[in-house]
């Protein structure tokens, strides 16, 4: 109006409106359905922030990547505040790594140490990562680096997914992270049919002792140190992720650094907040409404299904060599998605045999899944970067 007043209404596109709807759905799922609220609410609001024209909270290059600049550029209106957050938090890979430190302070590896074979299920449950990597690449729609980042969604672990995608395919960070985190909430829906399909009723009824062996403090302290040293020697590129996770865990179990461990937990909350809003800001309509994004959504379902199958088949294979059989359902918990996949194992186990308590046994592979996905991120980085 007279060149003095500019409304954003004229510049709203149908794409923007659809993205506002998607952001609203994510906020609804977070608040009303309690699905991953600490992530879906900030991601949903981040989507609002970048899909209201002219607001200038985030600006993009013609390639759809966030523009880079400093404080002076914010003052001049060339970039927005979220550009800074993206650059210093995600582009430098600082946020996913520090989140893993915080996650480590919250994790109890006792079930994994009590049954070390659980670690193998955390590895076999990465099957979906590699199968979907192949499918995505052979479809011809994605480059080899992009395919690796789509595949790792199957690991069901946020920080390694973000870490790898920032390194190999930053243009897909928005859709991949949103799909990865929102699908984790769908684990209770996606896993049970696969579990029932790939196990017999007799296998699902296998009883396991309700209690796990009590793990000593020395074992708890040695675990993060051993895992970090071995992983760094055999898969060096995974060292930043595994190192942060294990460092955080050492703070928790050492018994002398409770204050630092508590700080790690608080740091985790702050960083998840920043991650959520940064990821939401990577989803302007022009980037999100692309056939490739829709394909990523479909491929992610396949990745979860194959990963669940990998965990189950791994447990069934190990059973061939064990005198005291394990219930193969716990293998499905190797997909990480802590603790939801372990809860699914508990529910499915009880459905087959109401006297069975699989939760503690399933937490072993569940925790191992976080290590497995970090190793996979390192393997892809080593091979493709």
């Amino acid at each position: 109006m007279f060149g003095l007043y500019e409304s954003a209404l004229e510049q709203m596109t149908l794409g923007n409106l659809a993205m506002l709807l998607i952001g609203g759905v994510l906020i609804y799922l977070g608040i009303v359905k309690r699905m991953e609220p600490i992530l879906l609410v900030p991601i949903g609001f981040g989507i609002f922030m970048v899909n209201l024209p002219i607001a200038g909270i985030m600006t993009y290059t013609p390639d759809g990547l966030p523009a880079f600049g400093g404080l002076k550029d914010i003052a001049e209106g060339k970039i927005g505040i979220l550009n800074l957050l993206y650059y210093y938090g995600l582009e430098t890979e600082l946020i996913p790594l520090l989140i893993f430190l915080g996650v480590g302070t919250l994790m109890d590896f006792s079930p994994t140490i009590a049954r070390p074979i659980s670690l193998v299920f955390g590895a076999t449950a990465q099957l979906g990562v590699f199968v979907v990597f192949l499918i995505a690449y052979l479809s011809g729609m994605f480059s080899i680096n992009e395919s690796a980042c789509i595949g790792i969604i199957g690991g069901s672990d946020g920080p390694p997914t973000v870490y790898l995608t920032v390194a190999l395919a930053p243009s897909l960070l928005g859709p991949i992270t949103m799909v990865a985190y929102s699908y984790m909430a769908l684990v209770p829906i996606l896993q049970p049919p696969v579990i029932r399909l790939l196990t017999t009723e007799k296998e699902r009824k296998i009883m396991m002792k309700p209690q796990i062996r009590k793990v000593s403090k020395l074992e708890l302290i040695l675990f993060p140190i051993i895992v970090f040293i071995v992983a760094s020697l055999l898969d060096p590129k995974s060292a930043p992720l595994v190192g942060m996770l294990m460092f955080g865990n050492l703070l928790r179990v050492s018994g002398v650094t409770e204050r630092l461990a508590r700080a790690g937990g608080i740091l985790n909350d702050i960083l998840i907040l920043l991650l959520g809003i940064s990821v939401g800001s990577l989803m302007p309509a022009q980037v999100f409404f692309h056939p490739r994004t829709l394909l990523i959504i479909g491929l992610a379902v396949l990745a979860f299904i194959f990963s669940t199958a990998g965990g189950l088949l791994g447990a069934k294979f190990i059973n061939l060599f064990l005198k005291e059989k394990i219930n193969p359902i716990i293998g499905a918990a190797g997909v990480s998605a802590i603790p939801m996949a372990a809860r699914v194992a508990q529910i499915e186990g009880q459905r087959a045999n109401p006297k069975n308590y699989l939760l503690m046994h399933a937490l072993g592979p569940n925790m191992a899944g976080a290590i497995g996905t970090s190793l996979v991120a390192g393997i892809f980085m080593g091979m493709l970067r």
């Binding site: 990562v129 793990v215 074992e219 051993i226 071995v230 055999l234 290590i371 996979v376």
Partner: protein, 43 residues
């Protein structure tokens, strides 16, 4: 152009290495735990 040989190589080797590394870690953890438990029982 899609290099399917490379894709299969990365996929197979990647999955294999991942399993191998975690098997090695699990064996080391098992040995260390076994030794600690043995020592504790002896005490």
């Amino acid at each position: 152009m899609v290099n399917w040989k490379l894709a299969f190589l990365i996929s197979g080797a990647g999955y294999g290495i991942n399993i191998l590394v975690l098997i090695i870690i699990s064996v080391i953890i098992w040995i260390v735990s076994f030794m600690i438990q043995k020592k504790e029982k002896a005490q």
